[in-house]
Structure formats: structure tokens, C-alpha cells
Symmetry: D2
Subunit: 386 residues, 4 copies
């Protein structure tokens, strides 16, 4: 009668911490689960801040040292939402402690780290996932279904663009997302990693890439490390921006399709412009995060004269996850992508398997990220290891 | 071998004169016609202006008295593009002179005049049309085809809105389109007449209406009578605006559908916002003049999950008229609606019939206009005579 | 330090019950409140169903008789989400029991009932609201701010359309929303009530109306009373549909603006097509529920040549409520409108005032609903009492 | 009083021949010119076909050998609209004969040829242009004005995509546009050449590129050489497709901006999907051919909360060329881009200068095309000669 509990320990409580916390909180409200998620403990270094975050978001306890979460035997799952430079250490330690893991993207600072994380997770036999939440947009999941069932035919093209504009002001400070030692890369690991994940999910593996990267604003005032959109300048000195503001690459997929990818934080007017189009021999799809519930679908077998892109509001029972929310036309938002992914995670833990995207996906994603970065440096095409 | 000529005499040479002249000029370029349109003569009161217009637009001769066109035996077709108060006199005289006629909309100042025009045309046995050009947008004509072939099922609703904003400035002068003695009504005969024509064309006859009309700016500086968008104030006195700025009505169609109609020249931001949506038991269509090549189509028999409004770019061979222009995706514009209607007119003259919309349509349109106006005055539902 | 509790007792647990429950659950996560909402008890007639609903949605206890909620002294607020025929009895009893109240729309079966509810609430001095959730869409709230601060100038027009299509199949059963004795009216009280609320909120009071109503499918198989979109036929007999499938009306606002309103459940392809446009002397706004985060804004004082409707994604700090959710461009959904309204309700209870929309708004809304209905019956314009 | 004549001799009379002929025919109707274009003669190899084309499109005479046009002293301007392999020979001969020239794009088969054409034109001192008609879309020309006047600030990004889908059926025949000996390249010279021209026009010169090209359908049935969309298979044998179906490249602009370009004839559902977005430090623009009258504009200096992309219908007096056509909101189409370019050509001939884009632009465009092609072959970045 009473369900097996999955007691969660989360590290980090800012943007992603909020998104994950909310998802755990909402999960049983919407989904019928085989396990019961319990918001057991949250970890952060600032005692007062972490205490407040725990209270506000509904965590039962808190720790100021993340290692304590691994030691506690009332924790089953570790959720890692901290900056990228910490993922490998935390995930490997969590795996060794026998905890299940969900880790924010990109999985690590580079493929070598990501590979070690995957190995540790496999060795420990734990359930693991990487939080590429856009896979869990109903419209995208439905696009996947259309592609897999052959409705678009042979895929020839994918083009994806992910544009933001929040750091364009040269006086915006040097936050952690702009420091290589903390984040590994800039736009590349932050935004492009999402586009690569969608490419792998929807079209398949990339085999080779050629890319370019650039940094438009090369020096910035020193700012709060933890800062997001509203980060404050904290110092009158300037520091070097050693990560990319923008990145683009051309790629070939294993199935012969061509890929064109671009991500930038200098796309003025695009607040969160995550978009793609896929063209196949029998149809095409288009998607845009700013109206994320909609999928544009073109089908070649529509009658002559009646052909055109359809705007499908993916809020109907036929659409993945939509049935648990609201009647058709009553749209959902960004946060629901996290509820959906946490639902899969709980299914994985209940069934003892690692739902996709998991650390293997995170590792392969990192191989592409690394290849693009090396290509940008060497100005050569780079082959992705298989 | 050489084709029968249709020698045209046109009265009026401003906005509509330009649109019609251009259509005659382009007609043989695009369409294979059974007759040869000849731009024979143009009439206007100002000798210098009409001479210049003739030269610029390609007319062979000009007259300063429109009656001269009726007297000339080298004129087969009279094209009336003058203000509304002149239509009846000109058309009846032209019919009596045995000339074919195309007349701008609205057909007349009221249904009584329109009825006399229809009668005169019928008595004379001439070919006649009214220039409701929006029927000749390929997207709309294709919508008609879909409705007639039952693709939308039983029609339940039509809602049409026609918004402009060019007279909103209270200092915009009192041009002829704002004087009842010249135009009969304001927005009503100018814009709503188009929506009514589309309603009759696409859904069928209206049987009863209840309406309201209003004038937001009741006094304006005296301006050039002939003026359009750039009309100048010519006098420091003010005159009363005695026509409607806005009109709306509810109506019932003979087939049981409900109609909701609104037209205004106070729709800020809408330069030429002619739009409608029609809902049937099996599908719906939407159209908007600002992207006039597109038809939005929803079909209920699309598979579950793949339902949504399609954006059809009506530039393909399957679409009416589109085949004579450019390859798919290479759009046409406003002026092509006139080329298309003149093509029908030439077919009518070649085949000795009056293509729709003709004076009978103009008369029935005027019955609806009059009924709405009476309803607005009496605040009662008014039945449309059959 | 510990906050005053607001202990909630909710009656009804289906569509609206789910929406409200979720809102209470999420409220403290997003907003910093002066009171603490407690999901104390839920009431419903079916013991097993209400027990399960309580468990799933997070209510501490349940009752099978709503009157029990009024008797319990551990309940401060009654939330009424049952069919329309029960609102008056429940609300009046709740007010007399000294409970605060939030009631679903429409407030009652008619203005007389609504008036008595308002009176009872005022007499009891309790806090009361009506759940017109669309007022709490950030885009709409921002439109209100623009209008109030004069950015659109004098308002000339509002046109609103609310279209759904879930009952178009003639075999869809006769659920409670199609029975006059239970719901009072059909599309009118369900959808049009929302449009009227937005009209009153954004433009002001209506003074007179003329309307029409129609029922396209007049007999339906007997179905589950409680059913929504997936309701099942439960009987092989047919019953009469005695409410409207569609309604439209013309109205005049106290400030001189013209209103055109239409609602239908026969708008094929429109799942939840709640839309409006407002035109003023200096600008216009457009909104559409299917992309509810976006506001279209036209401003006349934009430079010549650069004028056009802007698509504002109302997810920025400048937009009402948006600051508590996610970074710009990370959209919210339908359910957030309820979180926002419950936030206002808690502010009201904390500050001992009844935030708008409250029972006075529900009553005035009902006056308009009643006037439209009488107008449709009498085919006369009907004046709205002030 | 009577104007100097510009007597035109046109070579080729299919798709581009039709577009150019129509433009010459309409030119004096819309524009006030300092010279008078005369449709003097048309040349084509098939006597009957060229005779009919001349009659239908309004040419005074015809020739079956294009060289005859160069010999005639009643020809001032040669218009070249034939397949790409003929441009160099014709243009050089025309220049040597002292004729002005407008030539279709791409200018030649490669940069070497294009360079010789430019040299010949310069040596002869004639007026020359290349027909990149998209520069003459009012929305694009207005975008240029905004960029040049600094409204978008420093340009960081241009991404352009040009997608068609007319050859996707593997049974579509091997027409001239698919044979390297005739067209030089496939999608690259046909579609990508347009995107490169817009890039050079709007952002500036590209300095280096890395590209990829692919051919998805490598063998096709032999078809009519002259065929377009409706080309017929004429032979049961198959031939090799030796040009690209799709091409993409990354590029760097001289001003530091990054460019991402893609063109394909395998973009299912995109009939003529010519699109771009440009992001600058102060604003962005977006354009799409399928709604070619609209420009999307984002301006950073819009007030907080009111920021968003505006849809500007570029049909107002403030927009280039729009003033000669129709009132605001009455859109123009594809063919008007040719009327506009011919207007510039006539201005050039009247003023004895070569308006942009001219052979120098065609040559520089070809340098980029060649560099992308070499890059695709060598898998290296290739520097564009300055």
C-alpha cells in the first residue's frame, strides 16, 4: 500500500535547484508514481541561504557540506545542480556511495571527466540521468515519435539555433558562467549542449564537425560568482572572459543528414530562442521554445493544395505527458519539462534502469562539445569518436 | 486569328483608377484571353490631370466629360471608379448606351439605386460586374472551393473584421469618404461592404441583422474632396462628419450559421486588416489580408495528435489563378486581385454572361448594408428581403 | 515568526478542483506570503473518489458533505468549484458561517442569486473573490497597466472571441455543462463570462447590449453528469440540450467604446481560443490564450516606418508576477493563472480586503450575462443596470 | 519633352525572362523615369517559341540568334537571363559591342569568368548590373537603412537559410539546373548566391569560410533541359547529378560578425524559404520571403517590458519603393522586386553609373561561392581574396 520512498539530496539551490525542487514537489500531484519522492535534504555552503532555500522550497533538512549527503543513509538519490567544475567529483563520489544520480548539463568540463563519471556510475550499478530537460517538452517528444514512426521519411537536414541576449551589455559582470575554470565553456556548454542533445535524440549521432567560436566582449567587471541575469558588479577591476560568447558548427550525422548549429548569448531580442527545424523526405517539423507547446508539422502526403505547416498545440491526449496536465489548449510551461524528466527518473529508479538521457548521453554529448571546440581551435574538421 | 477587341472607357483615375488601369495593362501578359482589352479612353474633370493620368497609365485618349465615353462608339466597356454618389447615374446611362459595365463597390448609395442599376443592366442585356476584388484572392477562392466541396462540413460561424486606421487623427480632413452626400456611408460602404461580399460568397445569404454604428470624431477640418491617406486640410473651418467611423453587426445566415461582423477606421495599428474565420463541422479556415497569400486551414479528419491549422501559401498550381503567375512560394500582391477580376470580366464579355459578383450581388450587398444601417438607427433586428 | 494560517476547505475536486489545489500547493514555493495556506479539507459526495483526490492532491482530510466544512472551526476559507447551481447556496451559507470565500465563475445562475451572494458576503464582512483566472495572465495584467497608464489613449474598440470545439460531435453526451438546471447557461456562462470579465477589467462597464444565442445540436445522448472532454454516454436515450452552443453580442461601454463579443463551443480547431484585441487612439493590444505569454502591442508613437505590432514575451521582471517564476523567455502556463489569483486572495485575507475580481464583479458580470440572454430572447437592446 | 529611350534586347524568355519582361512593362506605370524603356527585341533559339513569347510579353521583335541583338544598333541594353554557362560569353560580347548589361545571377560559372566579365564591362565603360532582386524587397532595403543608420549597433551575427523542395522526388528529371556543365553548381549558385548577396549588402564582406556540400539524390532520369518545376522525364536512362543538393557554410565578416549560411533544395515544405536574421548590439531584424512585405524588428531602446520583435508591414511611405505602389497594408509580391531593380537600372543608364549590385558585386559573390566550394572539397577554411 505505502510506496517505496526515493529520498532525495540536492546540491545547489539556485536556478536549477529551484527548477528541480519544484518538479519534485509537483511530481506526485500530476503523475501516478510507483515510488514516492521525498525532498529529504539540500546542500549549500552558505548556512543561512541554504536554510532559507530549504524552507521556501520544501526540503526537510539541509547540509552545508555536500559530502554529508553522501554519508547520510536516508538519501537515495543525489541531484547535482552546481557549476560544471564540480559535477565530476560529486557524481563519482555519489556513485561510489551507491546513490542514484541526476546531474545538470553539461555533464562535465570535458569528455575525459564525463567518461570517468559514466564509468563510475556503471561500476556502481546506480540509476543515472543527465538533465537535458528539452527532450521532455511534449512537442519535441511528439516530434521524436513522428520521426521514429517514419512520418518524416529519410532525414536530410537539422538546423538548430539557440540564442539568448542577457550578457550583451559590456558592463554585465564576469559571473561563473563566463569563467572557463568554473564552467569549461560559455555558450557552448550552456546552450549548444542542449541543441546537441536534441540532435542526438531526434536525428542520431554526429560523426564529424567543423566549428567556430568567438568572444565579442573580452573583458568584464568582476561580479558575483553565483550571479544570473541580475548579477551585480562587485569590484572595480576587470577580468578576462575566457569562454565563448557564440559558437556555430556544421556537422554530418551517421545517417547522412547535414546539421547546422549555432548558439549565442549575443542574439539581441532572443530571450531564450531555442529553435530547430528538421527536414525529411516526407515531412518537416519546426519548434521554438518561446511558444514551446506548439509543433509545426509539414506532411508531404497531405493533398496537393492543402499542404502547409500545421501549428499543433501539443496539449492533447495524443501528445506525450499532456494527458496528466490540463484540457487541450490550456498550455504548460518551462517548469513542466522538469516534472516530466523527474517522472522518468522515478520510473527508472522504480524499475532499476537509467532512462535516457543518462550519463552515456552526457558523455557522447561531451564528445561532440569537445570536437567542436578542438575544431574551432585547429580550424579542421574533427571526427567524433564512436 | 486576331482577337475581338474590348475597348475600355474608364471614369475616375485615382486609387481605383490606378488599380483597374494596371490590371488591364497586365492582363494579357499573364492570362490567355479570348478577347483583347484595349485601354481606349479615360475620363476626368480636370483636363491637365486626366491627360497626365492617361499618359502615365497607358490610356490612348481622354475625355473631360464622362458622358462623352458613352457617346463614343469605339468604347465597349465602361469602368466606373468614381465616388459612390455618381455610380447610379453613370451605370444606368452606360447600360442604356449599350455598354458593358464594371462598377466599384458599394454599387450605389442605397438599395433603391442599386435595384435600378440592376434593372437597367438586365434590360439592356449588357455584361456587368461589381469590383469586389477580394473574392479574387487565390487563398479566398480556394477557401470557397473547400467549402463548396464539403471539406468544412456544415458551416456554423463566420466572423469577419475589417480594420483600418488612416483617419484616426482628429485633424485629418473631411474628405469625400467622410461626407454622406458623396459616399452614402463611411466605413460601412467602404470596408463592411467587402466583408458582406465575402460572407455572401463563402457562406451564403444573410436573413436578418442587428447592428450598431458610431462616429468617434464628429467634426473635422475641411479638406480636399478627392483626398486619400495624404489629404490636405484646405480650409480653417470645420465640418460635420455625418458618416460612421465604425460599424458592427450580428447576423443569421439562411443556412443557420451565425455571423459576427465589424469594420472600423479606428483600429489603430491595422493598416488594412481585412480578416475572417469560418468554422464548420469538419474544418475551419482563417484569412488575413496582411499576409494575403496564406490560408489557414484546419481539417478535423487529420489524425489525432496531428491536428492544427495549416498555413497554406496559396501560390501553387492547385490554387486558383496561381498557375499564371510565379512558382510556388513567390508571392503575389494586392494588385493581382484586380488582374484576376478583370480576367473574369473579359471571360464574361467573350461569353456574353455576367460573372459573379455582378449587379445582382451589388444589389443584395446593398440590401444588407441598408438593413444594418436601419437596424443601427432603430435598434431593432431587421430582416433582409429575399 | 510563524505565519498566520489560512486553512482551506474546498468543495469539488474535478477540473477546477485540480487547478485550485495545485495553486495552493505551489503558492508558497513561488510567492513570499504574509499568511500560510493550509490544504485542510476537501468535500465531495463520493467517499472513495474524494478520499483518493485528497491523497493525490495533498489535502489533509476530506468530508462527504460540504456543510461539514462550514461547521468545522479549523477552516478559514471556503473554495467553491462545483457546478453553477450550487454556488449561491454554498456561498451564502459559507458567508453566514463567517468563512472567507473564493467561488468559481459564473458566480451564480442569474443576477438575482449573485446579488444575494454579494449581499451575504458584505453582511458577513468576509473576504470574497470570484475565480476569473485570465485576469492573472501576466500579459493581460500588463495590458491593463498599459491602458491605465494611458499608453493606448482613448479606447475605441474591444473585440473578444472565445472558441472551443470539444462538444461538436453530435454523439458527445449531455453532460452537466449542457443542462440549464445545473449550469444556467452553456457557452455563455462558461466562456463568455470570461470575456465579459476581461472587458470590464480592461475597458470598463458595459451599458447596453444586443445579443443572439443558438444551439446547433439540440438533442444528445444521456451522459455522465460530471463529465468533461472524455465524458461517456451512459444511456441510450436522448435528452434535450437547453443551453446555448454559441452566443454573440454587441455592446457599448460607459466610456463610449464599442464591444463585439462572441463565444462558441462550435469553433472547430480552436481548443481554447480565448482572444481579444483592444484599439485606442494611441495604440492597440492583442492577446491569444494559445500563446498566452505573448502580448501584441502597437504604439502609435513609434517612429514612422518602424511601426508594427510587437510580440512581447511577458516573462520579464517588468511584467506582473513574472519575476517570481523563471528567467525571461522561459514561459509559464495555464496553471500559473491560478497560482497568481490565489496569491491575491492570500493578500486579501492577510489585509482584510476583497481583491478584484470579487463578488461585486461576479454580480456585475452576471448582470451583463442576464442582459445578453434577455436580449437574445426579446431581440431588443437591453440596458445594463448600474 | 520626349524622353531618351533605352531599347532593350533580352536573351532568354523562361522564368527570368518572364520576370524581367513584366518588370519593363510595368516600370513606367509605377515610376517616373528619366528615360523610356522600350521592349525592343527578344532572342531565343526556337523560332516559334520565341515568336509566341514576344507576342505574349509585349516585345516588338525577336531574334533566333542572340548575337543578332548585339549587331542591331536599335538596342541599348542587353538583358541576359539564360543558363549560367552562357553568361560570360554573352556579357563580354555585349560589353564589347558597347551595350549596357543586366545579367542574371550567379554572374558566371566561377570567379575567373566573372572577373573577365567585370573587366570587359569596365573597359567598355558600359552600365552593368547583376539581378540580385531580393535586395529590392522594400523590407530588406529598409533593414539596410536601419543597419546603415546605426539602429542595430555593432553587428554580431547573420544567419541565413534558403530552402526549397521542388526536386526532392528522386524521379524528378535531370534538368539543366542539375548539370554542372550548364549551371556550374546546384543549390549553391542558385540559392546560396542570393544569401551571399544579402550578406554582403547588409553586413559586409566575408573574409573566410568553411563549408560542406552534399547531393542526396545522385542519379536522376534524363529530362528536358529547359525544365523548371514541371519538367518532364524525356528518356528512360539515368544520368548523374554532379551538383550539390544542399550547401552550408560558416563565415567570418570583415567587421567581426559571424555568419551561418545554409541552402537546400531538400527542405520539405519550404517552397521558397528565403530567410535571415541579423543581430546587433542594439537590435535585430528578421525576414522571410513567404511573407516578404514584413520585417521583424527588435530595438533594444524600447522601454523595459515593451520590448519585442515588431512586425512591420513595409508598405508605407517611409519604406523604400512602397510609395509608388499602393496604400499601406495593400501588399506587393515577388514581381515587384524586379520592377524595383529595373528602376535602379534605368536610373543608372540615365546617370551613366552602374548601380549596385553590379558586376563587381557579382564577381565578389563568385569569390565567396568558389571559396565555399573549395572549402567543401578540401575540408579546410578558405580565405576570400580582397
Amino acid at each position: 500500500m505505502s510506496k517505496r520512498q526515493v529520498r532525495i539530496g540536492m546540491i545547489g539551490y539556485r536556478f536549477m535547484g529551484k527548477a528541480h525542487s519544484h518538479a519534485y514537489r509537483d511530481l506526485p500531484f500530476y503523475f501516478d508514481l510507483d515510488v514516492e519522492p521525498v525532498m529529504q535534504a539540500i546542500a549549500g555552503r552558505d548556512p543561512e541561504a541554504v536554510r532559507q532555500a530549504a524552507g521556501k522550497m520544501g526540503w526537510k533538512s539541509y547540509e552545508t557540506d555536500w559530502r554529508r549527503l553522501l554519508e547520510r543513509d536516508d538519501i537515495d538519490l543525489i541531484d547535482i545542480g552546481t557549476p560544471n567544475d564540480t559535477h565530476a567529483e560529486m557524481a563519482i563520489a555519489a556513485a561510489e556511495a551507491g546513490k542514484h544520480i541526476i546531474c545538470e548539463k553539461p555533464l562535465a568540463m570535458n569528455a575525459e571527466q564525463a567518461g570517468r563519471m559514466l564509468e563510475a556510475a556503471n561500476r556502481a550499478g546506480i540509476v543515472h540521468m543527465i538533465c537535458h530537460n528539452y527532450r521532455f517538452v511534449p512537442a519535441i517528444r511528439y516530434a521524436k515519435h513522428l520521426i521514429d514512426s517514419g512520418r518524416l521519411g529519410t532525414i536530410y537536414h537539422m538546423r538548430a539555433t539557440y540564442l539568448q541576449d542577457w550578457i550583451m551589455d559590456p558592463k554585465f559582470p564576469l559571473v561563473w558562467r563566463l569563467r572557463k575554470e568554473v564552467c569549461g565553456s560559455g555558450t557552448h556548454g550552456d546552450l549548444m549542449a542542449h541543441s546537441i542533445d536534441l540532435a542526438r535524440y531526434l536525428v542520431g549521432e554526429l560523426t564529424e564537425v567543423t566549428g567556430m567560436m568567438d568572444t565579442f566582449v573580452k573583458c568584464r567587471p568582476i561580479g558575483e560568482m553565483s550571479g544570473g541575469l541580475n548579477a551585480q558588479v562587485v569590484d572595480d577591476r576587470y577580468g578576462e572572459v575566457d569562454v565563448d560568447d557564440a559558437v556555430a558548427f556544421l556537422g554530418r550525422f551517421a545517417n547522412g543528414a547535414l546539421g547546422v548549429f549555432e548558439a549565442s548569448r549575443f542574439g539581441k531580442g532572443n530571450r531564450n530562442g531555442n529553435r530547430f527545424e528538421i527536414n525529411g523526405s516526407k515531412g518537416s517539423v519546426r519548434w521554438d521554445m518561446e511558444n514551446m507547446n506548439n509543433l509545426q508539422l509539414y506532411l508531404d502526403d497531405d493533398e496537393k493544395g492543402m499542404q502547409g505547416f500545421r501549428t499543433i498545440n501539443c496539449t492533447e491526449e495524443a501528445h506525450p505527458y499532456a494527458g496528466v496536465y490540463w484540457p487541450a489548449g490550456h498550455i504548460i510551461g518551462y517548469e513542466h519539462t522538469f516534472i516530466n524528466i523527474m517522472h522518468e527518473l522515478m520510473r527508472g529508479i522504480a524499475g532499476n534502469f537509467s532512462p535516457e538521457p543518462n550519463f552515456a548521453d552526457g558523455y557522447r554529448n561531451q564528445l561532440v562539445l569537445d570536437a567542436v571546440e578542438r575544431s574551432a581551435l585547429t580550424k579542421q574538421w574533427v571526427t567524433i569518436p564512436t
